[in-house]
C-alpha cells in the first residue's frame, strides 16, 4: 500500500496567501473599483500576511527542532521543504516585494484601472520565487522559476505606450524563456544521470556511490547553472539585463531585479550546496570563472554607461560576481551569501526607487545628466542615493562592506585566494562607477530647477533602504547570526 503523502498546509501557507491575495486584488478591483492607492495598501497587507505565514513556519520549525511537534519538514511527498533557508528566502522576498510596492506606488497609481493587474503580477511573482527557494525538487524549482519570471516579463512591458518598454518585455521574454528551456533541459539530463529529481536524493546517492561516467550528470548540472546564471545576471549570460532594466517602467525595475536575483541565487546555492556539494571540486572552478567574468565585465562596462539604469544593471552583474565568490565556498558560504543578498536586494530596490522619482515612474531610461546637482534639487533623494551607492560599493560602516567581507572571507577559506584578489580589484573599479554618480549629484550644477516630489511610500522605502545600509553597517551582528543559521536542509 502506498502511504498517502503527508499534508502540512503551513508549508505552503505563504504561497497560498500570495496566490489567493493576487486573486483577491483582482476581484476587489472588479467589485469595488477602489483608488489605486488603496490597492497598493491591500497588496502590502497581503504581503504582510504572507510574512506572518512565513514567520509561523519559523515558529513551527523551532518547535519541531525542540521536539514539541511532530511532522516532516518535507511534506507533500517532499515537493516543498520547510527549512531555515526557505524561511529566510521567503521573508527576504516578501520584504523586497513590499518595498517594491512602495517604490512603485506612483507607477501603480498612474496605471489607473490596470493597477490591480500590476499588483497581482507582483504578488504572483513573489510567490513563484518563494516556491523556487523552498523546494528540493528540481521540477518544482522550474515551476517556481516560471511563475516568478513570467509575471516579470509582463511587468517589464507594462508601459504600453513606451516603445522601449515593449522592447524590454520582448527581450526579457525571449531570452528568459530560452534560459528556462536550458534549465529544464539540464534538469532532464541530471535526471538521466542520477534517476532522481530530488536534490536530497542526489546528495545521498553521491555520498554513497561513485558515478563512473558522470558526463551526462555534469552537463546537466552545467545547464542548470547556466539557466540560473541567466536569472541572476551573471556574465556571460547578462546581456539582456541592461536593456530590460533600462526599458521597463522605472517603478518596477527595482523589485524586478531584486526578486530575480534573490530567487535565482537561492536556487543556485541550494542546487550546488545541497545536491552536488561532493562535486565542488568540479563546479567550484566553473563558478569561480563565472564570478571573475561577472565581476570584471560588470565593473568595467558599468564605467562607460551614461544612463543610471544601465549603470546599475551592469553593477548588478558585478554584484552577481561578488555573490558567486561566496557560492564557491560551498555550504560554508551560504550565510555570507544570504547577508549579501539581503543587503544588496534592498539597496537595489531603494536605488531604483530614486531613479523612478527622478525620471518618472513610467519612464524608460534615466540619463546620468538628469542627476546633475540633484543635491540642490532634492537633497533627500541625493543623500539616499549616495548612501545606497556607497553601500553597494562596500565602503566600511555600511552593510555592503560586511557583505563583501563575508563572501571574500569564505572564498579565501575555501582556497580561492586569487578570486578574492580579482574581486578586490573589481570593487575598486566599482568605486569609480558609484563615485561618478555621487560627483554628478553633489559637485555639478543642476540642469532643471523644478523640485522633485517625494511621496510618502517612497520616503518609507528610502528610509528602510538607508537603515539597512547604515544600521546594519554599524551593527551587523544580529543579521550575521541569523544568516549563519539560515542553512538548507
Amino acid at each position: 500500500m502506498i502511504a498517502p503523502p503527508e499534508i502540512n498546509w503551513l508549508a505552503i501557507l505563504p504561497l497560498l496567501i500570495l496566490g489567493l491575495g493576487a486573486a483577491a486584488v483582482l476581484l476587489v478591483d472588479v467589485q469595488w473599483k477602489p483608488l489605486p492607492s488603496r490597492l497598493n495598501l491591500l497588496a502590502v497587507v497581503i504581503l504582510g500576511l504572507a510574512a506572518l505565514g512565513t514567520g509561523a513556519q519559523g515558529w513551527w520549525l523551532s518547535r519541531r527542532e525542540a521536539g514539541e511537534v511532530a511532522g516532516s519538514p518535507l511534506p507533500f511527498g517532499g515537493m516543498v521543504v520547510v527549512d531555515r533557508y526557505a524561511i529566510f528566502a521567503g521573508l527576504l522576498l516578501i520584504a523586497v516585494a513590499a518595498l517594491g510596492v512602495g517604490a512603485g506606488a506612483r507607477f501603480f497609481e498612474s496605471l489607473g484601472r490596470r493597477a490591480a493587474e500590476g499588483l497581482a503580477l507582483l504578488l504572483l511573482s513573489t510567490s513563484g520565487f518563494i516556491l523556487l527557494a523552498s523546494t528540493t525538487q528540481m521540477v518544482m524549482m522550474f515551476l517556481g522559476l516560471e511563475i516568478g519570471s513570467i509575471s516579470l516579463y509582463v511587468l517589464a512591458g507594462f508601459s504600453r505606450q513606451e516603445a522601449r518598454s515593449e522592447e524590454a518585455a520582448i527581450k526579457y521574454f525571449l531570452l528568459g524563456s530560452f534560459a528556462s528551456a536550458i534549465f529544464v533541459y539540464g534538469v532532464a539530463l541530471v535526471f538521466a544521470g542520477t534517476g532522481s529529481l530530488d536534490l536530497l536524493e542526489h546528495r545521498t546517492l553521491l555520498d554513497r556511490e561513485i558515478i563512473l561516467r558522470p558526463a551526462v550528470l555534469l552537463i546537466g548540472l552545467g545547464l542548470v547553472v547556466v539557466g540560473l546564471a541567466f536569472k541572476v545576471t551573471a556574465a556571460p549570460f547578462h546581456a539582456w539585463a541592461p536593456d530590460v532594466y533600462q526599458g521597463a517602467p522605472a517603478g518596477t525595475v527595482g523589485f524586478m531585479a531584486a526578486l530575480a536575483k534573490v530567487g535565482g541565487f537561492a536556487a543556485l546555492a541550494r542546487v550546488l550546496v545541497t545536491g552536488f556539494e561532493s562535486y565542488v571540486g568540479t563546479w567550484g572552478t566553473v563558478v569561480a570563472g563565472l564570478a571573475v567574468l561577472s565581476m570584471l565585465l560588470g565593473s568595467f562596462l558599468a564605467v562607460v554607461q551614461s544612463d543610471l539604469r544601465r549603470l546599475l544593471a551592469y553593477s548588478g552583474v558585478a554584484h552577481a560576481g561578488f555573490i558567486l565568490t561566496g557560492v564557491v565556498a560551498g555550504s560554508s558560504g551560504v550565510g555570507s551569501i544570504w547577508f549579501y543578498l539581503a543587503v544588496y536586494a534592498i539597496q537595489l530596490v531603494g536605488a531604483y526607487a530614486v531613479v523612478a522619482a527622478v525620471s518618472g515612474a513610467a519612464s524608460a531610461g534615466s540619463p546620468l545628466s538628469s542627476y546633475a546637482g540633484l543635491a540642490r534639487r532634492q537633497p533627500l533623494l541625493a543623500r539616499a542615493l549616495t548612501i545606497l551607492l556607497l553601500g553597494m560599493a562596500g565602503i566600511p560602516l555600511t552593510s555592503g562592506f560586511i557583505a563583501k567581507f563575508g563572501v571574500f572571507q569564505d572564498a579565501f577559506r575555501a582556497g580561492f585566494g586569487w578570486l578574492v584578489v580579482v574581486a578586490m580589484v573589481a570593487s575598486v573599479v566599482s568605486f569609480f562607477i558609484y563615485l561618478r554618480v555621487i560627483v554628478a549629484m553633489y559637485m555639478q550644477e543642476p540642469e532643471g530647477t523644478e523640485a522633485l516630489l517625494v511621496s510618502r511610500p517612497l520616503r518609507v522605502v528610502l528610509v528602510a533602504a538607508i537603515a539597512v545600509t547604515l544600521v546594519l553597517g554599524l551593527f551587523p551582528i544580529p543579521l550575521l547570526r541569523l544568516t549563519a543559521i539560515s542553512l538548507p536542509l
Binding site: 556607497l390 566600511p396 562592506f401 584578489v421 575598486v428 568605486f431 569609480f432 563615485l435 553633489y442
Partner: protein
C-alpha cells in the same frame, strides 16, 4: 576611555547636525568647542599613559563576532599616542582656520569631525578588521572635503585621491582576510586581533606577499615615490583644513601602518624588503626636494616637501635600528606640526590674496611682520634647525640609519640641504625685498584668532626641540620593542645604537 576618544568626535558631529541650518554663524564656534572635548580627553590620555612602558596600554577588548574572530580591540602605545594627540589638537585648529568657508559650512564641520573619529580609530584599533574599517571610512569625509570645498580641479583631485588609496587598501583587505584565515587554520579560531596574529607562523613566500600587500597600501598613503602623484593634486585642491589634516595626520597612517603592521607582523619579510623600501625612501627624499625647488605654487611646494620629509620617516623605519625607528615616530609628529603650520600659513595668505603663486608675492615681511616671523620660524623647524623639533627627528633618523644604511644616510643628508634651499628660496622670493605689487602693500597682518591658532604649534616646535625627552620617553620603549621582536624572530641583528661617538670612530677608520 579609548572608546570615548573615538565616539566623542562622532557625537560632536551629531551635535553639529542638530543645529538648525539657518543659524550658520553657530557652526564653526560650536564645532570648535565640541572638538575641544576629544582634545581634553587626549590630554588626559597623555597623563594616564605610563611613560617607559613598551606594550599596549589602556587596552579595551570585547569580542564582537566570534565566528570571524572580530573584536572591538583598542590600545595605545608610544607609537600611536603622539599621533592621537596630534589629531585631537589639529582638528579644532583647522576648524577654526576655516572661516573662509561659507558654502555648506554645516556639512564641512560634520565631515571634519567624522574624519577625526576615523583617524583616532585607525591609530587605536588593534583588531585588523576594525583598523581596516576606520582606514577606509576616512576616505569618505576626506573625499567630500576635497570634492566640495576644494579649488578648481577639486573633482579630479578628489576622485584621484579616492581611487589611489582605495586601490591600495583593496589589496590590504585581501591580505587581512588571509591573515585571519591563516590563524584560523593554525589555531582553530580565526582572529583579527593584532596580538594573536603576532604568533602566526608563515612560510617565506606567504609573508612576503602579505608584506607587499600591506606595504603597497601604506606606501600609497605615505606617499612613497613613485606612488605619490595623488598627493600634490589633493593638497593643492583641498581647502586649508583639508590640507592640514591630510598632511599632518592622513599621511601618517602610512608611516604608522608600516611600523605597526609591516614591521610588527612580518619581521622576516621586513628585513628582506629593506633594500627596496630604503631605496624608494631615499629617492623620495631627493626627488621630492628637487621637485619642490621648482614649484611656483606655494601649496604645491609644501606638498612636495612632504614627499621628501616622509621619505626620512620611511628611511628611519626601515633602517631597523632603535634610533631610526624612534626617530621616524618622532618625525611623524614633527612633520605633522610643522607642515600643518605651513599649510595654515599658506591658507591665511590665500584668504587675503586669493593666490598661492610665489611670484605674486614679494616683500611680505615688511607688510606683515608677524606673519613673516612665524613663517620663517616654521621654515626653520621644518629644515631642522637645532633647537627646533625638526632637528631632533631628522638627526635621529640620520644617526639611526647610518650604522645599517650608511650610503642611504649620506644621500638623505643631502635632502636636508635641499630642504633649506627650497624653503628659504621660497621665503626669499615671497617675503624679502620691497612689496612692489600694489595688492601686497595693504595686506593685514595676523589677527588675534590666527595668532592663537598658530601659537600651540609654534610652542610645540619649541618644546620638542628643546626638551624632546617628553616625547622620547614614550616613543623609545615602543620602538625598541618592535626592533626586539624583529631580532627575536629573525636572525637579524641591529647594529649597535648609533651614538655620535661611534659614528665618528667609523669615520676615522678604526
Amino acid at each position: 576611555m579609548l572608546t570615548a576618544l573615538i565616539v566623542m568626535p562622532a557625537v560632536a558631529a551629531l551635535i553639529v547636525a542638530l543645529i538648525p541650518r539657518r543659524r550658520a554663524e553657530l557652526f564653526l564656534p560650536i564645532g570648535v568647542t565640541v572638538s575641544m572635548a576629544p582634545l581634553a580627553l587626549a590630554g588626559y590620555l597623555f597623563i594616564e599613559f605610563t611613560a617607559g612602558e613598551p606594550g599596549f596600554q589602556l587596552v579595551e577588548r570585547t569580542m564582537l563576532y566570534a565566528p570571524w574572530g572580530f573584536s572591538w580591540y583598542l590600545g595605545v602605545d608610544g607609537i600611536s599616542l603622539p599621533l592621537v594627540i596630534l589629531t585631537a589638537l589639529l582638528v579644532p585648529i583647522s576648524l577654526a582656520a576655516s572661516v573662509a568657508i561659507t558654502h555648506r559650512l554645516k556639512e564641512f564641520v560634520m565631515y571634519t569631525l567624522l574624519l577625526e573619529a576615523g583617524l583616532i580609530g585607525v591609530f587605536l584599533a588593534l583588531d585588523l578588521l576594525l583598523f581596516f574599517v576606520f582606514f577606509e571610512a576616512i576616505l569618505i569625509p576626506m573625499y567630500f572635503i576635497i570634492g566640495i570645498w576644494g579649488g578648481e580641479r577639486r573633482i579630479y583631485a578628489a576622485v584621484k585621491f579616492f581611487l589611489y588609496t582605495a586601490f591600495g587598501s583593496a589589496l590590504m583587505m585581501a591580505a587581512i582576510i588571509a591573515l585571519a584565515v591563516l590563524t584560523g587554520r593554525e589555531t582553530g579560531t580565526p582572529s583579527f586581533s593584532y596580538t594573536d596574529l603576532l604568533d602566526l607562523s608563515m612560510n617565506q613566500s606567504t609573508s612576503r606577499w602579505l608584506f607587499a600587500a600591506f606595504a603597497l597600501a601604506f606606501a600609497i598613503k605615505v606617499p612613497m615615490f613613485p606612488l605619490h602623484t595623488w598627493l600634490p593634486d589633493a593638497h593643492v585642491e583641498a581647502p586649508t583644513a583639508g590640507s592640514v589634516l591630510l598632511a599632518a595626520v592622513l599621511l601618517k597612517l602610512g608611516t604608522y601602518g608600516l611600523v605597526r603592521f609591516n614591521l610588527g607582523l612580518f619581521p622576516q619579510a621586513s628585513v628582506d624588503f629593506v633594500p627596496i623600501m630604503a631605496a624608494l625612501a631615499v629617492i623620495g627624499i631627493i626627488y621630492g626636494a628637487i621637485v619642490a625647488i621648482v614649484q611656483p605654487d606655494l601649496k604645491k611646494l609644501v606638498a612636495y616637501s612632504s614627499v621628501s620629509h616622509l621619505g626620512f620617516i620611511v628611511l628611519g623605519t626601515f633602517a631597523l635600528t632603535s634610533g631610526g625607528l624612534a626617530g621616524g615616530v618622532v618625525q611623524n609628529v614633527n612633520h605633522g606640526i610643522t607642515t600643518g603650520a605651513l599649510f595654515l600659513l599658506v591658507g591665511m595668505i590665500y584668504d587675503r590674496r586669493h593666490t598661492k603663486q610665489i611670484a605674486d608675492f614679494g616683500g611680505l615681511q615688511k607688510v606683515m611682520p608677524a606673519y613673516g616671523a612665524v613663517f620663517l620660524f616654521t621654515i626653520f623647524a621644518s629644515i631642522g634647525l637645532p633647537g627646533l623639533n625638526g632637528f631632533i627627528g631628522e638627526f635621529m633618523v640620520l644617526i639611526g640609519s647610518f650604522p645599517s644604511l650608511p650610503v642611504h644616510a649620506i644621500i638623505a643628508a643631502a635632502g636636508v640641504v635641499l630642504a633649506a634651499i627650497y624653503l628659504l628660496w621660497a621665503y626669499e622670493r615671497a617675503f624679502t625685498g620691497v612689496p612692489e605689487k600694489p595688492e601686497n602693500q595693504k595686506l593685514l597682518d595676523l589677527n588675534l584668532r590666527e595668532k592663537m591658532l598658530l601659537a600651540p604649534l609654534v610652542l610645540l616646535m619649541l618644546i620638542i626641540g628643546l626638551y624632546p625627552k617628553v616625547l622620547l620617553d614614550r616613543v623609545q620603549p615602543s620602538a625598541e620593542a618592535v626592533l626586539d621582536r624583529i631580532e627575536a624572530t629573525t636572525d637579524y641583528v641591529a647594529p649597535a645604537p648609533g651614538r655620535l661617538s661611534q659614528v665618528l670612530l667609523i669615520g676615522e677608520g678604526e
